[in-house]
Symmetry: C2
Subunit: 216 residues, 2 copies
DNA sequence: AGTGGTTACTGACCGTTGGTTAGATTCTAT
DNA sequence: ATAGAATCTAACCAACGGTCAGTAACCACT
């Protein structure tokens, strides 16, 4: 493979990703067709199959970068100074919701990835890894905000509970035709309220020491 | 139209609904084709279009009955005696989750209904009405469990928060291949925990009288 | 300059989908 | 028996995701 060839291929590949990103930012998975993407990218829809193993794989690859960015930003939020642990959890939640809602079409992709092949290069696997890391991050934020050390399974149950809420917020708002800013302006305070209540409830539950729950 | 003709038509219509119900109970919207339904119902897929205005309308009509049943059962749960208000809220949550998860394929239909036509007979409208009634029911249950009267907008914000959680639980579990019983056996306690924490958090928030949140 | 091989790309095609329509079949009422 | 409405079906449509044989572009070597 020569330089010119590689450059050409890279350019086409990039054009496909850019086109797909633009289309998926306003339309859902099913509403965007491979031919739409190809037209915007300026190539035949067949060409896409040279670079990607189909529509889902394309979407997975497309989702990976925003998710990597998300992980990085969430980590930064979490280790940022001059914030109390529960403020940090709140900031984490806000950041998570902002990221998820800014990528509404991609969000279902993150959270319904089902490992298909064991192939290491399968982008679905990286998505799953990234998702698990974000989950673990939330667990650590929650742990820190609670201020007491918890057994792994109990922390898991609380983190799951917290994530159910975040997930529900995104899912409820995903179908909205509003822009991210409109959405946050209208419901942002409610999101904050919901997260705050959830955290307070978990903290109360922990401190009451009720342990009748042992899931998994 | 004579009686015999009507009876025949009714039978076909029923067969279609039954077949669709059977198929949607194990497969998702996209995985079930009109031809699958027709085959199981013992007719041509074209026949379905005589009775229903397409796949989505069929699904809406199909979803209406379970949702009516759900509303009825949730009402019964709510007005059942010998339960404290917060036990009642917990029972409501459990019942809601059980119903939603037993109809996993239909659940997204309930919650993404977008009013299409203003036609009174549009089944999507009834779905929306039913959904709103269930939401109102949850609001009343929450109000009762909190034990204090709240301004409408504050109760709305809390109810929304609570529903975000329920919604998130269903959405997170909807993709699971497990049966309802397996799912509840594995995660039921976590669901209960999540609902309990959310309620405790809301109650704490109410009693602290923090009112900096005024959404909508 | 021309040749061969690799890479990048495309048009035509496949099976399947949701949906439509002309017309055959079935049934009832007379 | 037959007209006429109700019911059903075979054949069709455009669009989908995806495949494949073949073409065009490029580079290295003689």
């Amino acid at each position: 493979m020569t330089n010119k060839q590689r450059a050409r291929a890279e350019k086409t590949r990039k054009a496909i990703l850019t086109a797909a990103e633009a289309l998926f930012s306003t339309r859902s998975f099913d509403e965007v067709t491979m031919r739409d993407i190809a037209e915007l990218a300026g190539c035949s829809h067949t060409t896409i199959y040279i670079y990607f193993d189909g529509k889902e794989a394309l979407l997975n690859e497309l989702a990976a970068e925003p998710l990597r960015t998300a992980l990085r930003r969430l980590e930064r939020t979490l280790y940022r100074g001059n914030l109390s642990p529960d403020e940090r959890l709140a900031a984490f939640s806000r950041e998570f919701l902002r990221l998820a809602l800014s990528q509404r079409a991609l969000y279902p992709v993150f959270f319904t990835v089902r490992a298909s092949r064991v192939d290491e290069k399968d982008p679905a696997l990286e998505l799953q890894r990234l998702r698990n890391e974000i989950f673990a991050l939330a667990g650590r934020a929650l742990q820190a905000a609670l201020g007491v050390h918890l057994a792994e399974d109990r922390l898991l149950a609380y983190t799951r509970s917290y994530f159910y809420l975040l997930h529900g917020i995104v899912a409820s708002s995903a179908a909205s035709p509003e822009s991210l800013d409109e959405l946050l302006a209208r419901l942002g305070p409610t999101f904050d309220l919901a997260c705050l209540c959830m955290f307070r409830g978990i903290r109360a539950h922990v401190h009451e020491g009720r342990q009748e729950v042992s899931p998994q």
